[in-house]
């Protein structure tokens, strides 16, 4: 075991962990906002009751839709009154100017644009409104976060791979005499390889465990203080994130450790 290598792997895995936490939280926030978006579908005033029921069925049949609530023009007016504090009545405006409409909620809010488009095409729907600008912005931001995140994660994994493979290369070099003899007497390649692979995996594991330990200490603390400072920011609770993060980081550490040492040993075995 090499302390320098393990601690470097620890730092890399920790950056990876911090980054994943950030990405998960941003994603969580985006979902949170998107979840609250609804589509408002105004209906043509001439629609009869049966036609409205028919339309509701059609909307519910769209796979991304979770529910569609019918709001009659009277109900709409009542809501308006409530919002304005009962300061108006129908007599003030002559007749109820509001339309009948559906409030459509979605299972997958990222598909809001697509669903809105479909609803617009249904007969009996006059116009459709949803948080168009907001949802577009959130979706494009989360796309950027996703792709930069992916690139960043790949870079971190590659660096971890290099660190481990470099350390293992030194170990291999130190044992080159034994390896040479093993090759000469006909030891199978896997037999020569496995001790190094295990060493690489242990280095990855060691680095990952240390970083998981540190994240376990700091994240709950951080989540707590964010929650206290900004009540409206939906931060992921530690008990929800940490198990998943632990599994991810362990896998990342162990697998890159194994891959790094396999690269080094293979290079050496094929050279001699």
């Amino acid at each position: 075991m090499n302390a320098a290598s393990v601690s470097t792997v620890m730092i890399l895995v920790m950056i990876l962990g911090i980054f994943l936490l950030l990405a998960m939280n941003l994603n969580h926030m985006a979902e949170n906002i998107l979840q609250q978006l609804q589509i408002t579908a105004r209906l043509t005033p001439t629609l009869k009751n049966e036609q409205i029921q028919e339309l509701k069925k059609k909307i519910i049949l769209i796979p991304e839709v979770s529910s569609a609530e019918f709001i009659s023009k009277d109900e709409a007016f009542r809501r308006l009154q409530k919002n304005l504090g009962r300061s108006i009545s129908i007599s003030d405006v002559g007749a109820n100017p509001l339309p009948n409409y559906f409030e459509v909620s979605l299972k997958s809010p990222r598909e809001i644009e697509l669903v809105a488009g479909r609803i617009t095409k249904l007969p009996g729907v006059e116009t459709v409104r949803y948080g168009q600008d907001l949802s577009r912005k959130i979706i494009s931001v989360s796309r950027v976060v996703y792709w930069t995140g992916t690139v960043f994660v790949i870079l971190l994994l590659v660096s971890t791979l290099f660190i481990v493979s470099n350390t293992i290369r030194l170990t291999v070099f130190a044992r080159r005499r034994e390896i040479r003899i093993m090759q000469l007497v006909g030891a199978a390649n896997w037999f020569i390889r496995w001790p190094f692979v295990i060493e690489g995996m242990l280095q990855g594991l060691g680095g990952a465990l240390l970083s998981i330990f540190l994240i376990n200490i700091f994240y709950p603390f951080l989540a707590d203080s964010v929650k206290n400072a900004f009540i409206f920011v939906p931060i992921l609770p530690p008990e929800l994130v940490i198990p998943r993060l632990t599994a991810l980081l362990l896998a990342a550490g162990v697998l890159t450790g194994a891959a790094g040492s396999i690269i080094s040993v293979n290079k050496f075995l094929h050279l001699t």
Binding site: E178, R180, V185, G186, A187, A188, N189, F191
Partner: protein
């Protein structure tokens, strides 16, 4: 046992190690490979062990075509071939016994068989008494005996020796050659690359001469002096 047909070997740096070698060595033969430094003797041996792959031509070892042998099968080829070197290549932190046992351990031999084989081989090479010494405590000749024991413990059909006496005094060299001759007597095909004129001339075995990567001579009961570079290829004066 060993067949080379029009074998050439060029190293990646462009150096031509061997050109157009045609040779056939029967099972149980004793062959000296002679020639000056850089004439291709080591490359010749490395081809048989499949440490090198010929650039062109074909090699058969124990009826296996090495140019199409899969990398994963190479260890099994090497279990049939023992190798010894001028510098012995021993593990100095292991005892004599452990050095020899190592060759069996790494190919997965059961422990009880290891003890039996190692002890038998060590007494054959005359090191039965010194099994628990470290190589550093022994003389050069004894160290070469360890490496011979390690090469033989696995019962190979071919034994390759690359300058086995290069680091030894004349008397010890003779002991080692006698030991190798004994091994050959028991049926192991033996290839010895050497500079040692005295030994080659006295033992009168088959001699293959190499110079600048070409075979200059191949003669039964040959002698070093007959295998010089000046002689015409294929025939010895």
């Amino acid at each position: 046992m060993i067949e080379m047909k029009a074998v050439s070997l060029t190293y990646p740096n462009g150096a031509q190690a061997l050109s157009d070698i045609d040779v056939s060595i029967q099972s149980g033969e004793f062959v000296f490979l002679v020639g000056p430094t850089g004439s291709g003797k080591s490359s010749f041996l490395r081809l048989i062990n499949r440490e090198e792959i010929p650039t062109s031509g074909k090699i058969l070892v124990d009826s296996q075509d090495l140019s199409i042998l899969k990398r994963s099968k190479v260890p099994f080829l090497r279990r049939k071939i023992g190798v010894i070197f001028q510098d012995f290549k021993l593990l100095l932190q292991k005892t004599v016994y452990e050095n020899v046992a190592y060759a069996l351990e790494v190919i997965g031999t059961p422990r009880y068989e290891i003890a039996r084989w190692v002890n038998r081989t060590l007494s054959m090479v005359g090191l039965g008494e010194k099994a628990h010494h470290f190589p550093g405590e022994l003389s050069g000749g004894e160290q070469q005996r360890i490496s011979i024991a390690r090469a033989l413990v696995n019962n190979p059909v071919i034994l390759l020796a690359d300058e086995p006496t290069g680091n030894l005094d004349p008397e010890t060299s003779w002991d080692i050659m006698q030991l190798l001759a004994q091994v050959n007597q028991k049926g192991t095909t033996l290839l010895v690359a050497t500079h040692n004129k005295n030994i080659v001339d006295t033992m009168r075995k088959r001699v293959i001469g190499l110079a600048e990567g070409r075979m200059t001579c191949d003669q039964e009961k040959g002698a070093y002096s007959l295998a010089k570079a000046e002689s015409a290829p294929g025939e010895c004066p």
